[in-house]
């Protein structure tokens, strides 16, 4: 009885189920450098959001905070009603421990700019390792799922290949399959095509567009490719100096930006 009650407490009070992601007065400083200043923003379940803005404006930091790769300096972040930085236990608010973080990370997946595949495992093992070790999925079942995902990303014949033998675009598609194998509710895309040779970019973008429009995945995407941003998202946030300067649907942001900084940024990007 008591255990049950405390377990329910552990998973925190679900404040507002209508938000998948909630940033509330989030401040992030690295030493003297303030990257995010009192940032507020909310994302609904299933919403596809692209973060744009000059480099150093804090977009990637937002993804890294959500993935618990960084800790907030102050403020709170909630994912599906659960607070990332703190947990409630017996009416007390305590700093999150590893168990609490693992609980929340289940909902979030991330694809990195540099792929970060495990070089000591083949493609199949890259995809199955986490489901097997973290979720306890039987290996055969995980492999079956992995092969389905490889089929989806167009690499069914590469299952037993070593990552180093794949092109950058193929590696990134494996990384996408690997993230999806954990069945996240939120997928974070951190400049996923920036490290790719130009001719490989569209393959990865097409794949992500399919994924974005298929499921009810909540998507948070940092990119410098404005056309991709327009295709993939139903909302664009323009960042500057750690704050949101403009927030709206892509049609509006890209064709009729109201803010001066957005106009300047888009001008610079499109002329590049």
């Amino acid at each position: 009885m008591a255990t049950e009650a405390s377990t329910r407490n552990d998973s925190s009070v679900r404040t507002d189920p209508q938000w998948m992601i909630r940033f509330d007065k989030v401040v992030k400083r690295f030493g003297d450098l303030t990257v995010l200043r009192e940032l507020d923003f909310h994302v609904r379940p299933g919403e596809r959001v692209t973060l744009i803005g000059p480099s150093g404006s804090g977009k990637t930091t937002i993804l890294r905070l959500l993935m618990t790769l960084e800790r907030v300096t102050s403020g709170t972040i909630e994912v599906d009603g659960q607070c990332l930085s703190h947990m409630r236990r017996g009416g007390e608010l305590l700093p999150a421990d590893e168990r609490h973080l693992r609980q929340i990370r289940k909902k979030i997946g991330m694809v990195f700019q540099q792929f970060n595949l495990f070089p000591n495992m083949n493609v199949l093992r890259n995809i199955t390792e986490a489901p097997v070790r973290s979720l306890g999925v039987p290996r055969e079942q995980a492999e079956e799922k992995a092969r389905e995902l490889l089929e989806m990303v167009g690499l069914a014949d590469k299952a037993l290949e070593h990552p180093s033998r794949l092109s950058g675009g193929q590696q990134q598609r494996v990384a996408i399959a690997r993230a999806l194998a954990m069945e996240p509710e939120v997928l974070l895309l951190d400049e996923v095509t920036s490290a790719l040779d130009p001719e490989l970019v569209s393959g990865v973008q097409d794949l992500l567009r399919d994924i974005a429009h298929r499921g009810d995945l909540t998507l948070l995407c940092v990119t410098h490719e404005m056309r991709f941003a327009k295709d993939i998202s139903d909302r664009v946030l323009m960042f500057d100096q750690g704050q949101i300067v403009e927030d709206g649907p892509p049609e509006q942001i890209f064709s009729a930006p109201t803010h001066q900084r957005t106009r300047e940024f888009l001008q610079a990007v499109l002329n590049a």
């Binding site: 790769l69 990370r105 990195f112 970060n116 070089p119 390792e129 973290s134 993230a179 954990m182």
Partner: protein, 217 residues
């Protein structure tokens, strides 16, 4: 002094069978112990618990900063007073293993530090349990990076193994000395012993260099 070929041919077989066997046992035993213990030391030194990491670090610093010869002496002549009884060879293997573990642990540390940050971050993003992050992601990559340096330490252990003769282990060099003392002639047995080390160490170094190039780090 003139080289005595007759005597050379007479002592060569026993020198290379009896002496060689002991040298190889000491080398391989010491190396396996150094490689395994070194890995554990490297992991313990990373422990977040200072009551674990500090003492382990201090002991290894101590071991690294005192001569192997002194350590062998202490282990061989002092430990029996505390009721620990082992053969001389066993003592030597443990001495070599512990001494070189203090070096291999640094090799592993560098190997672990060399695993890119992105690997850790990918493991976190996949919610891979910490234990499995170590077992299936970090250590395989770290050990692979460490192999050439470990190979060099294997050669070093091989060349240092004659120090065990101080605690009555009769390896190639110890045996050569015994043979020499019978006739007061050391030229032939010691030369053979030296050549034997040369003949093993040179190909081994070449192999390690190849390994280094193949692993590309």
């Amino acid at each position: 002094m003139i080289w005595d070929w007759d005597w050379t041919l007479e002592i060569l077989p026993e020198l290379l069978t009896q002496g060689l066997l002991v040298t190889l046992q000491a080398t391989l035993g010491g190396a396996v112990l150094a490689f395994v213990l070194g890995l554990f030391v490297a992991l313990l030194r990373r422990s977040r618990n200072p009551f674990v990491s500090r003492p382990v670090g201090a002991v290894m610093e101590f071991v690294r900063s005192t001569p192997l010869l002194v350590q062998l002496f202490v282990v061989y002549y002092v430990l029996p007073d505390f009721g620990v009884k082992m053969t001389a060879l066993m003592t030597g293997i443990i001495g070599l293993g512990v001494h070189y573990a203090s070096y291999t642990s640094e090799v592993y540390r560098a190997g672990i530090d060399g695993v890119p940050k992105g690997q850790w971050e990918a493991a976190i993003a996949l919610n891979l349990p910490r234990r499995w992050t170590w077992i299936s992601v970090v250590l395989p990559q770290a050990v692979r990076r460490s192999l050439p340096a470990l190979g060099n330490y294997l050669i070093a252990i091989f060349k240092e193994s004659p120090q065990l003769s101080i605690i009555t282990v009769v390896d190639v060099v110890g045996f050569a000395r015994e043979l020499g003392s019978e006739r007061f002639r050391y030229l032939e047995p010691m030369t053979i012993a030296g050549l034997f080390f040369l003949l093993v160490a040179i190909p081994a170094s070449i192999f390690v260099r190849r390994l280094e190039r193949r692993l590309g780090n």
